[in-house]
C-alpha cells in the first residue's frame, strides 16, 4: 500500500546487535497519522527491542527513525517523549508508591514551563500550571474509568486497572505516537474486548497513531489496519491482517497455529 502522504513515524532499515547476536535486522515501517499498526511474532522475536530502539533506550547500529520529520536517532528517551512518542511497558512500570493521580500528573511535567524559582515562590505561573495539570490529569483518569481511584496508591490497583493507568499516563505526555507493549497480557476475553474498544478510542478521541505489540491474535486482527511479523529479528511478513493470517511463513513461525482466538 503506497502512502500518498509521508508517514508520521518513518522507520527505515533499523538494525541492532547485542554482543554477536543480531536482535533486529533491517526493520522498516511507515506508520501514518491515526494509523493502528500491529507488531507480532513469537517470543524473543525482537518486538520489544524495536520499541526500545524507537524510544531511545538503545541506539541502533544502522537505520533512520523520523517522527513528523524529526530525526530521533541518538536522542535520549525523555527528548523522544517530548517530541511526541510515548509507550507502555511489557512488565508494567508504574510509580508504585505514588497515587494514581500523581502517576498521570508526572507525565504532564514535560509540557510544564514554570521553573524552579517560580515553584519556590509559588508565583502565579506556577499555580496556574498546577491547576491545568490537575484538571488535565483528572479528565484523563475519568476517560479511562479511573477517576474513583485517583487518590489510591498505584501499587494497590488491580492488574487490569494498572494496565489502563499505564496507558492513561502515556497519553498525558500529549504524544503523536503511542507504543503499546502487550497491553492485553493476562486479560480474559471480556477485558480484552473492552481494551480493543479503548485502543480504538485512543485513535479517534486523541488522534494518536498506535503501534501495538500483542500475542492475542484476535485483538490484533480485529483492530489493526496493518500487521508486521517478526521472527528472530527479521521481518517475515507485512500487510493487511487477513493476508498475514493466511501467510504460510507466518503460520510456520508460530508452529502452525495462532496462540489465541478471539
Amino acid at each position: 500500500m503506497a502512502q500518498a502522504v509521508s508517514a508520521l513515524l518513518s522507520i527505515q532499515h533499523v538494525s541492532i546487535s547485542f554482543g554477536g547476536l543480531k536482535a533486529v535486522s533491517d526493520f522498516s515501517l511507515e506508520l501514518p497519522e491515526h494509523g493502528l499498526y500491529g507488531l507480532i511474532g513469537p517470543n524473543g522475536a525482537g518486538k520489544t527491542t524495536v520499541f526500545n530502539v524507537l524510544t531511545g533506550v538503545y541506539r541502533p547500529d544502522t537505520g533512520t527513525i523520523r517522527l513528523a520529520g524529526q530525526d530521533l536517532i541518538g536522542l535520549k528517551p525523555h527528548r523522544i517523549a517530548w517530541f511526541g512518542m510515548s509507550r507502555t511497558f511489557q512488565n508494567i512500570r508504574l510509580f508504585p508508591d505514588l497515587s494514581v493521580l500523581d502517576n498521570v500528573r508526572i507525565a504532564c511535567h514535560l509540557r510544564a514551563k514554570a521553573g524552579f524559582v517560580s515553584t519556590m515562590l509559588r508565583l502565579r505561573s506556577h499555580r496556574e500550571e498546577e491547576r491545568i495539570i490537575e484538571e488535565k490529569s483528572r479528565r484523563l483518569l475519568a476517560l479511562f474509568d479511573l477517576a474513583e481511584r485517583a487518590g489510591e496508591e498505584a501499587r494497590s490497583l488491580p492488574y487490569g486497572d494498572q494496565r489502563r493507568l499505564e496507558i492513561a499516563r502515556a497519553l498525558a505526555t500529549e504524544p503523536k505516537v503511542v507504543l503499546l507493549d502487550e497491553p492485553a497480557a493476562g486479560m480474559n476475553p471480556k477485558e480484552t474486548h473492552a481494551l480493543a474498544a479503548l485502543i480504538r478510542r485512543l485513535r479517534t478521541e486523541f488522534g494518536v497513531a498506535i503501534l501495538l505489540i500483542e500475542h492475542d491474535m484476535g485483538l490484533v486482527m480485529e483492530i489493526c489496519d496493518h500487521v508486521t511479523v517478526l521472527d528472530y529479528g527479521v521481518t517475515i511478513a507485512s500487510g493487511e491482517p487477513a493476508a498475514i493470517q493466511r501467510d504460510p511463513r507466518v503460520i510456520e513461525a508460530y508452529l502452525g497455529e495462532p496462540t489465541e482466538v478471539a
Binding site: 517523549a81 508508591d97 505514588l98
Partner: protein
C-alpha cells in the same frame, strides 16, 4: 489579587521568621544556655536531614558524603568570617549587635559557603549520577575522604591581623588548620540564624515536594526508566537535587562552624557524620520532610538522653537501622508527611 498571592507566597517564611526572632529573644533570658545549644544542634541537624532527603528520599539516589559538603560550607564560611573579621575589625571577637556588620559578615560567609558547597555538589554529582546506585555511594564516600585528606594538609591558621593583611587570597584559603582544625572562629551562630535557615530549608523542601517538579523528582526514585519514558530528564534532575542538597549542607556547615561548643576539623565532618545524617533520613522515612525533621529531633536528643551509655549509642543506632530495614523499610513515615498519615484521617 497580587497582594493575595504575594501573601500566600511569603506567609510561611514570615511565620518561620517570627519564630526565629522569638527564639532569639527568649534565648537570653527564658532558655538556659544548655537548651539553647541543644536547639541549635537540632536546627542544624534538621537542615542536614531535610537536605539529604532531597537526594536520598526524593530522587532515590544513595549519597553518603553529605558531611563533605558540610565541610566545604563550614570551612569556606570560616575563612570569610575569621579572616574577614581581622581585615574589617582587626580582631576575631564577635562584633556585638544583631544584623550589624559582624552578623552580616557571618551570613555572607554562610551563603558563600553554600554556593561553594553547591559547586562541589555539581562537580561530584554530574559524573557520578550516571552510575548505578551503589557506585554513587562509593564515589560520595570517596569524595568525603579526598576532602578530608586535603583539609588535613592545609597550613596553620593565621593568628594576627598583620599576618592576615599581608597574606594573599591563596594563603588565606589554605590556612585552615590542617588536622588540628580551624580554631578560633567567632561564635556568630544563634537561634535566630539557625531557625531562619531551617525555615528556608523546610519551605523549599515542602514546596518542591508538592509541585510538578517535585513529583518529577519522586518519579526518578519510583521507576527511573518509566520516568525517562514520560519525558523526565532524570540525569538533570538528579544533579539538581544533588546540588541543592549540597548547598543546604553548606549552610549547615557554616552554622556548625560558628556554633559554640563545636570544633571544625576534618575528622568531625567525616563519614561518621555522613552516616549520622543517612540514619536520620532512613529512620524518618525516605521522601518524608516531616519524617526527616522528626528523626533529626529525636536523634539529636537521644545522645543527651543516653549520656550515661554513650558507648552504646552507635551500636543501638546500627541495630535500629538493621531492624528498620528488615521490618519497616520505608522508615517511620515512608513517603508521607505526618499530616497525611492514614491514622490521622478518622
Amino acid at each position: 489579587m497580587m497582594a493575595r498571592s504575594f501573601l500566600g507566597a511569603v506567609a510561611p517564611l514570615a511565620v518561620g521568621f517570627a519564630l526565629a526572632v522569638a527564639l532569639h529573644l527568649a534565648a537570653g533570658s527564658l532558655i538556659a544556655p544548655f537548651y539553647v545549644k541543644l536547639l541549635m544542634d537540632i536546627g542544624i541537624n534538621v537542615i542536614l536531614a531535610v537536605s539529604l532527603n532531597l537526594v536520598n528520599g526524593f530522587t532515590g539516589q544513595f549519597s553518603i558524603g553529605h558531611a563533605g559538603f558540610m565541610a566545604v560550607g563550614g570551612y569556606a564560611a570560616g575563612v570569610i568570617t575569621y579572616y574577614g573579621s581581622f581585615l574589617l575589625f582587626g580582631n576575631t571577637h564577635v562584633a556585638e549587635g544583631w544584623l550589624t556588620g559582624g552578623d552580616l559578615l557571618f551570613v555572607g560567609g554562610c551563603l558563600f559557603g553554600a554556593v561553594l558547597a553547591a559547586l562541589a555538589g555539581f562537580v561530584v554529582g554530574l559524573p557520578s549520577l550516571r552510575l548505578r546506585g551503589d557506585y554513587l555511594a562509593i564515589v560520595t564516600l570517596g569524595f568525603g575522604e579526598i576532602l578530608r585528606v586535603l583539609l588535613q594538609r592545609t597550613g596553620d591558621v593565621l593568628q594576627t591581623a598583620e599576618q592576615v593583611e599581608k597574606a594573599g587570597v591563596g594563603t588565606l584559603a589554605t590556612s585552615l588548620g590542617g588536622s588540628l582544625g580551624f580554631s578560633g572562629l567567632p561564635y556568630y551562630t544563634d537561634l535566630f540564624w539557625v531557625y531562619v535557615f531551617v525555615t528556608i530549608t523546610l519551605v523549599v523542601a515542602l514546596r518542591l515536594k508538592f509541585s510538578s517538579l517535585g513529583r518529577a523528582f519522586l518519579s526518578i526514585r519510583e521507576n527511573e526508566i518509566a520516568a525517562e519514558a514520560v519525558g523526565v530528564n532524570t540525569t538533570r534532575l538528579k544533579v539538581r537535587a544533588f546540588v541543592l542538597a549540597a548547598g543546604f549542607a553548606g549552610i549547615a556547615g557554616g552554622l556548625f562552624a560558628h556554633e559554640i561548643g563545636t570544633s571544625l576539623n576534618p575528622r568531625e565532618l567525616g563519614f561518621q557524620k555522613s552516616f549520622d545524617v543517612v540514619i536520620m533520613v532512613v529512620l524518618g522515612g525516605m521522601g518524608s520532610v516531616s519524617g526527616a525533621v522528626l528523626a533529626a529531633i529525636v536523634l539529636t536528643l537521644l545522645p543527651e538522653a543516653l549520656r550515661g551509655f554513650s558507648e552504646f549509642r552507635m551500636p543501638i543506632y546500627a541495630l535500629a537501622l538493621i531492624l528498620m530495614m528488615i521490618l519497616r523499610p520505608q522508615g517511620l513515615l515512608g513517603l508521607r508527611e505526618i499530616w497525611e498519615m492514614k491514622w490521622l484521617k478518622r
